[in-house]
């Protein structure tokens, strides 16, 4: 059976947070070449969806993922409780992995129960659904350097399957401790998209997505200056897509969802 043709989708809301791209409004101007990136890193966000006492205690990946996710929902003017979600991350929370492995090597019975339950790959998704009081399903994926593409594909597949609007959140952080030698991720980054089958009043872009399997294809590349802002982050493969959204023009972007599975994305203004 040949891949079937699926209807166009809409980006209804966008969130992005990284230290030098702190929020989508500013990121859109920076990625679009209208403004220079700030020289200094912004402090880690304190996600408003979490109760005040949890905002500082939340792991970095949870904080940044929830920040971007809430911004995307606000942009789309949809309730966070109404969305199925797809979370994706190449490495998960590397600070907690470093803590877990170091503690297990030194004093395994001293492991913190909170850090343990925060170590699951679905921690960000779990905190999101709890904070948003969202009982819709979520998933939590990883696909190596193709983690954004694999998440984008699953979010689109869910939207086409009749799930309704789907929230996609991709995130990764800087490596800590000895782990940095084998999981060399840098920066703190989350991007979030609300993907819809219908054009909403706030739609940012429309796109067609076609999955082409079997050949190794080169993915699109972001502008050098933009690429440098996120270089080395486990989710940096989101950048060509986010840059195209920032530019707001009709553009063809190729993302990889696997080594031999290319996603041809035809983006155009909504």
């Amino acid at each position: 059976m040949k891949p079937r043709e699926n209807p166009p989708l809409y980006v209804s809301g966008v969130g992005l947070w990284s230290q030098r791209l702190p929020g989508w409004d500013q990121a859109r101007r920076i990625l679009g070449g209208l403004e220079a990136a700030p020289a200094d890193n912004a402090p880690r966000p304190a996600p408003q969806l979490l109760p005040p006492n949890e905002r500082r205690r939340a792991p970095d990946t949870v904080a940044v993922a929830l920040e971007a996710a809430l911004a995307a929902c606000r942009g789309a003017d949809v309730s966070p409780a109404s969305l199925a979600s797809v979370f994706t991350s190449r490495y998960g929370d590397l600070a907690i992995t470093d803590y877990m492995c170091a503690t297990l090597a030194a004093a395994p019975t001293q492991l913190s129960p909170t850090r343990f339950h925060n170590s699951v790959h679905n921690a960000a998704a779990g905190y999101w659904t709890i904070a948003a009081e969202c009982t819709r399903p979520y998933t939590s994926l990883s696909a190596g350097e193709y983690s954004f593409g694999a998440g984008l594909l699953e979010a689109c597949v869910q939207a086409w399957s009749g799930t309704g609007d789907v929230l996609l959140v991709a995130y990764d952080m800087d490596a800590r401790g000895p782990l940095a030698a084998v999981a060399p991720s840098r920066h703190l980054l989350a991007v979030a998209l609300v993907i819809s089958t219908a054009r909403g009043a706030r739609a940012v872009a429309q796109f067609d997505l076609e999955a082409v399997a079997g050949r190794q294809v080169d993915p699109s590349r972001a502008r050098a200056g933009n690429a440098a802002l996120l270089a080395g982050n486990g989710s940096e493969d989101c950048l060509p897509f986010m840059e195209a959204l920032a530019l707001g023009e009709s553009r063809q972007v190729t993302c990889l969802a696997a080594p031999s599975l290319a996603l041809g994305v035809a983006l155009r203004p909504a």
Partner: protein
């Protein structure tokens, strides 16, 4: 949904390697659990450890994936003609039409733990472990994609204890949308310190063999498993007929007290499979033998199903295999469709008063046409799968 054909399936865990051994272990009431002998400072508990895994090996060209998890994956794939099934699917559809969706909770973290236990005097990861491609959650799926030369999607689902049940749901969507024509879905999780000491820190580990739904249950035993199914739109074999997914939105490590998410996932699986509760012959319960899970799951099943539905947890045979549990218990559920034998709750003697007549201590011989498998995980992620025998509408 259009029921999908399961054209091959297999599982390997402490209770047995392959379908024949597992079927026999279920019938004989023979547990795979043993006193914990894993790691440098073994905790006092019981584990479902796969014998011989230390001596298993990977193909030489994939030595960079050397790890307990990849060894278990490779060992598990070799049973029940599963590799022939994959080769057949590649021949029928083309390698570019065969996807892989693999569930895991900790993947190869055991290798990263070993790296930290053997840091050099300068505090660095030793060269042999630095050279391996195992220090990220997608490592096992990447290894399998390369070793099987698959050229469609290869993705890891990591939603804790629902991971590999959700792999079935994602695989079904890939087929429905025409992204792939065959999908290998499965789960692999292996023993490691992270989960043994992690669940211990939450006081959820039992020092005895686990006793699902027993009044005296006092926690889980951790196990390891590799389990796989090959999904296609048509062919001979049992059917994957429905799935339901939900979120508790309640707590990171405790289930919703009224079983809200569990109930929603059960109802969605039945409705997607156009099946009524009265038509369900068997339910493979999540049944971890933790106090809360079993109480809430028993109440949920009692509220929804008639008395003649037979329900049990198979964790007394296998331990809780975490991210592999969804796929392992899917395979055990498929074995009940095949044999008609519905297991009871091994190790348990007195059922919790929360249990309705559905939860059984003893196994029972019958006819199983439609069966469910429940998986509920940390982070409030729930997934229920519906399977039907070949020829059952």
């Amino acid at each position: 949904m259009q029921p999908l054909c399961i054209s091959a399936f297999t599982a390997t865990c402490a209770a047995g390697a392959g379908r024949a051994a597992l079927s026999q272990a279920l019938r004989d009431g023979r547990s795979g659990l043993r006193p914990n002998d894993f790691g440098r400072e073994p905790l006092t508990t019981w584990v479902g450890r796969v014998p011989g895994l230390e001596d298993a090996s990977l193909p030489a060209e994939f030595a960079s994936y050397e790890s307990r998890n990849c060894r278990l994956a490779w060992l598990g794939l070799a049973r029940d003609g599963f590799l022939d099934g994959v080769a057949g699917a590649c021949a029928r559809h083309g390698r570019e039409r065969v996807a892989l969706v693999l569930g895991t909770s900790t993947d190869c973290i055991g290798a990263t733990e070993e790296a930290y236990a053997r840091l050099t005097p300068a505090g660095e990861i030793p060269d042999d472990l630095r050279a391996r491609r195992v220090h990220a959650p997608h490592a096992t799926a990447e290894f399998l994609q390369r070793a099987l030369d698959l050229r469609n999607l290869a993705v890891t689902v990591a939603t804790a204890c629902s991971s590999s049940a959700k792999a079935f749901a994602q695989g079904a969507r890939l087929l429905e949308l025409g992204i792939a024509d065959a999908v290998i879905v499965g789960g692999v999780d292996s023993l490691c310190d992270s989960v043994l000491f992690g669940f211990n820190s939450l006081a959820l580990v039992s020092s005895d063999p686990c006793r699902p739904f027993d009044t005296r249950r006092n926690g889980i035993n951790i196990g390891e498993a590799a389990a796989f199914a090959l999904l296609e739109r048509a062919g001979d074999g049992p059917r994957f007929a429905g799935y339901g997914e939900s979120s508790d939105a309640h707590h990171m490590s405790a289930p919703h007290p009224a079983g809200r998410g569990a109930r929603a996932a059960l109802e969605e699986a039945l409705s997607r499979g156009r099946t009524a509760t009265r038509d369900i012959d068997y339910i493979n319960l999540h049944g971890t033998a933790s106090l809360k899970n079993d109480e809430i799951e028993a109440q949920t099943v009692a509220a929804l199903f008639p008395a003649n539905t037979h329900a049990s947890s198979t964790k007394g045979w296998t331990g809780h295999t975490l991210g592999a549990a969804g796929a392992l218990e899917a395979v055990l559920t498929l074995l009940t469709l095949e044999s008609g034998f519905m297991p009871g709750n091994l190790n348990s003697q007195t059922l919790d008063p929360a249990c309705g007549p559905q939860v059984r201590l003893a196994g029972h011989e019958g006819r199983v046409r439609r069966a469910l498998s429940n998986s509920f995980g940390f982070g409030g992620s729930n997934c229920v799968l519906l399977f039907t025998a070949d020829g059952v509408a």
